[in-house]
Amino acid sequence: MSAVITVEKLSKQYRIGHAKQDTTLRESLSNLLTMGFLCNKSQQETIWALRDVSFSMERGETVGIIGRNGAGKSTLLKILSKITYPTSGAIRVNGKVAALLEVGTGFHQELTGRENIYMNGSILGMRKKEVDRKLEAIIEFSGVEKFLDTPIKRYSSGMRLRLGFAVAAHLDPDIMIVDEVLAVGDASFQKKCLNAMENLRAAARTVLFVSHNLAAVENLCRRCIWIDGGQVRMDGESRSVIEAYMGSMTGSKNLSAGLDDVQNRRGNGKVRYRAVEFLSPGGTSQRVVRSGDGVTIRFHYSVSEPIAFPSFGFRMYTDMGTLVTDTSTWHHGIAIPLLEPGEGHLDLEIDCLNLLPAKYTLSLWLTDMVGGVVYDNVEHGVTVDVETADIYQSGRDIDNRCGIVFFPQKWNLSGIAEGGTASKHAQRPQATLAT
């Protein structure tokens, strides 16, 4: 394996206040004069968009870049694609690069669809012969055959997008750099994009992919780099990097809720919940809980006097107040003969947390087996954010618009008649996707 991209101590400094649109010669001259007289250089504020970023990529690797807005992701891509130059540091790129920072770069309103295919292809580094050769395929892919000789100013934004993407999908670079392209367009367009990326990956191309769609990143990239404040915060296996990133977004170090300070609770207090922890199946504490994760919920309690046959339980609600589930040791028919005074904990093991991403709250209960005596009850005492994950391995962002829960499931297409409408889609090579 050889490195195709090597980035060493890359830094980029921007002068703010100086790089504005309205620079004029007059300003520049007057600045020169005042600077000369006052030596007042501190007026120029600078920011580091990137600071000492180093990493390398192997041939055929697909790497995702994640981070907050303004973290430096775009600056990094712009430097890698030679749009802008670093203040210091070095990049070595081994191969032909195509950077897709926008769909339809260089499209001109007045030019026809066909003319724009050539223009756009050429700007993205395609040879004219190459475009000639791929023209049929590009047109077919874009689905705008009928309007090919119409100026694109008459196109809808969707048509323009499809045309732009059709060109991009037929680039054949060694290294592909893609930025947020998936953020635009409707669901079917996003699917096309993901499929095209999948094809690139399958063809052992090197892909660098920036997106806010973490599910897509996780689906496409085995490795992920998290950029924060212009620096590489974490670089490693996608799943763990995304989890750490999500953990930083929610702000808490550990997903545990201490309950000792809760005033608003009912019950006689003979047994009390002290804390609730969310652990990974191995028992280590977890920073985020994601859809489809295996999760262990650990209930810590303390007992002040011996209790026979208690029942531990909780209710989970959505933040809209809908009851999601009510479960307890009693529901499971588990009898706990005796709790001795002291500390202890009880684990609830969930193999697959089939909740869709949203905020959920837990109300905790500790009662006797018949429910007549309440030892402890904390209403909405624990909050948990379930984060998005690539639950259907589709790269789609499945969120709370899709409901509250999902079931382990698969679609079976064997009953679809040949020659029906569905097979038309299946003929398109890009539309086949393992689900």
Binding site: Y14, A19, Q21, D22, T23, T24, L25, R26, S28, K78, S81, K82, I83, T84, Y85, A99, L101, E102, T105, G106, H108, E110, L111, E115, Y118, M119, S122, I123, L124, G125, R127, K128
Partner: protein, 261 residues
């Protein structure tokens, strides 16, 4: 410029063609007269100047009929000024391209200079027609005329690159260029002959590279007009200097285009 950037320019050479092609396509799209505008512009200039300077002011023209005397320079001037006006803003009007994709930035102003050649060619055809109409008997010197056209193209490209790059940082250029073109026209012997200027001023005026180009071009076309070799050599030197200055400044400035634009 290093070898690398040269190789890069070569690798992207087709893009230069596409930029020029796009400009030509766009220039005459939805224009009823189309490419005829390439004729109308210098032709009207010729008629106007002939009426005002030829007929009213009785401007001398070294024994050549004034209309063709004037037009022979106007065809060069129209190319130069037309390209300059568009090329100087070529980077800023394509700012979205510069921010979103890498390509040799030089191709934007240079593409304009290439696209202008079509209009120039059309204008030249009219010049041939006029020479026939005025019974100008061409001599062997005519074979030298491409040399002056080449000088013109090199000059135009160099100045275009410089103005385009400057305009990225200083938007004053956009306002200064029309003014610059106007002044430059009168500093160039388009409507008057070189011989009208006292010879002691000529070395200074030859620093205006258009001076040598126009004078040399006319000497090629009209037998009997002398080549002012010193003057042409000076202008040639200035052309090369401006071209080098333009391309070096461009190469230096292009690193920050995406940040500043």
């Amino acid at each position: 410029m290093g070898n690398d950037s040269m190789r890069e320019l070569w690798r992207y050479r087709e893009l230069l063609y596409f930029f020029a092609w796009r400009e030509i396509k766009l220039r005459y799209r939805q224009a009823a007269f189309g490419v005829a505008w390439a004729l109308i512009q210098p032709l009207f200039g010729m008629i106007l100047f002939t009426l005002v300077f030829g007929r009213l002011a009785h401007m001398p023209s070294d024994g050549v009929p004034y209309p063709i005397f004037c037009y022979s320079a106007l065809v060069l001037w129209t190319y130069f000024s037309g390209v300059l006006a568009i090329a100087s803003t070529s980077l800023t009007t394509n700012s979205s391209l510069i921010e979103k994709v890498y390509f040799p930035r030089m191709f934007l102003p240079v593409g304009t200079a290439v696209a202008g050649l079509l209009d120039f060619l059309v204008g030249t055809l009219l010049l041939v027609g006029l020479m026939y109409y005025y019974h100008v008997r061409a001599s062997w010197a005519l074979l030298l005329s491409p040399l002056f056209v080449l000088m013109l193209i090199i000059l135009t490209t160099g100045v275009s690159m410089m103005l385009a790059a400057l305009n990225v940082r200083y938007r004053d250029i956009k306002f200064a260029v029309p003014f610059l073109i106007q002044v430059w026209l009168f500093a160039t012997p388009v409507i008057y002959p070189v011989t009208m200027v006292p010879s002691r001023f000529r070395p200074i005026l030859a620093l205006n590279p258009c001076w040598g180009i126009v004078d040399g071009f006319r000497a090629c076309l009209f037998p009997g007009l002398p080549f002012h070799f010193k003057l042409i050599a000076t202008s040639m030197g200035v052309v090369i200097a401006l071209f080098l200055a333009g391309s070096y400044y461009f190469h230096w400035a292009e690193k920050s285009f995406a940040d500043v634009i």
